[in-house]
Symmetry: C2
Subunit: 190 residues, 2 copies
DNA sequence: ATTAATACTTACCATAGGTTAAGTTAATTT
DNA sequence: AAATTAACTTAACCTATGGTAAGTATTAAT
């Protein structure tokens, strides 16, 4: 269970056995059933979740009641409402399991302690956030420069796993279009 | 000239005089005239630029030759093509001064050295990238959930400085619409 | 197995924003 | 200060995507 986390950390930093024990002692395993919530908007996002197995989405709900998917996280991804997590203010975001999922939860206070005891964790998350930022800016740019059809075909090519495992209505929302539009786009692509 | 940078670092970490001297020795001042390029696509993004004074934009150009503004940076902001900077691969992005600007440039190799000599810089950039990520995800979400008019009025309210100092055509592009559309929106708002 | 809920599709009409084109205003350069 | 270039506006028309509604298919619950 902790091995996946260790492997993930070791993609960016090196970790000693002692350090890993310390990290493991701060992390809480959590199983969550499909369609159950890890976070509901209004609550404070207590934990940064590392996905050992499964699939989750974070999303907001606008005034009209429409959902907007912010992030889709599968194995070896991290998911949270970072704004709420960092500030410990109420979340605007919901996080829900798309499949039965195994998570490792790291609370904000635990992470603060770990930053002080294992300085390379600053480096790990510096790299993690920098990567995520590059991806987010690229996604924003695509949203401003490409049609929904191109965004879909690009996602299909680069993340076929998402297309396979995530319901179309959530993919549509992630792409910023309605399920009806994505259905039409798919049809045009035969 | 280095004081602005020190102040910026000290919003997130504390810095000793010795550390600041070391940082200063790795940083290159650069003056850039309005409408001149700091980075052209195809080149490798050598430097992370801290804006002491002035205003710049990063943007991509699509197949049709249309520009898409990715980032607008004014005083105390950092700007670069992060993907190119981290990987030292050719950039897809251009960076251009919107006003005559004073910058402090930090090369990728200098930054690597500094990370090893001043561990708290990992923490500084961890926080910087985390903040930027939160903002980028929020911007993406707005793009998926709000009309161009709402996005404009929100920008007007939260960043009146941008509206004042940046030409409308670049603001339009940043918002993901054409200058004609933004002009129409402005008219409707009287 | 049946029922109920969730996911997906289709079609028709509506609209925000894009495209084109022409003009005006403002900022630079000579 | 004239000339040039960049920035902004307006209007008529067009298109990608949204909204609504009704139906089918799939998955989950009883």
């Amino acid at each position: 269970m902790h091995q996946e986390l260790r492997d993930n950390l070791e993609t960016k930093i090196s970790i000693t056995d002692r350090e890993m024990e310390l990290i493991a002692s701060h992390v809480t395993p959590r199983f969550i059933k499909k369609r159950k919530d890890l976070l509901v908007s209004g609550a404070i996002c207590k934990d940064f979740a590392f996905v050992v197995k499964g699939c989750l989405r974070s999303y907001t709900i606008d005034e009209k009641g429409t959902e907007h998917v912010v992030q889709i996280a599968m194995e070896n991804y991290w998911i949270a409402d970072l704004h709420s997590y960092f500030t410990q203010q109420p979340s605007q975001t919901n996080i829900e399991a798309i499949e039965d999922s195994h998570l490792l939860l790291l609370s904000a206070s635990s992470l603060e302690e770990l930053y002080d005891q294992i300085p390379s964790l600053d480096r790990f998350f510096r790299k993690l956030f920098a990567n995520a930022l590059v991806i987010s800016l690229e996604r924003m740019n695509q949203s401003n420069s490409e049609t929904a059809e191109k965004r879909y075909t690009k996602l299909l090519k680069e993340h076929p796993d998402i297309i396979r495992r995530v319901p179309l209505l959530h993919i549509a929302s992630f792409l910023g279009i309605t399920p009806e539009s994505l259905s039409r786009i798919r049809k045009q692509l035969h």
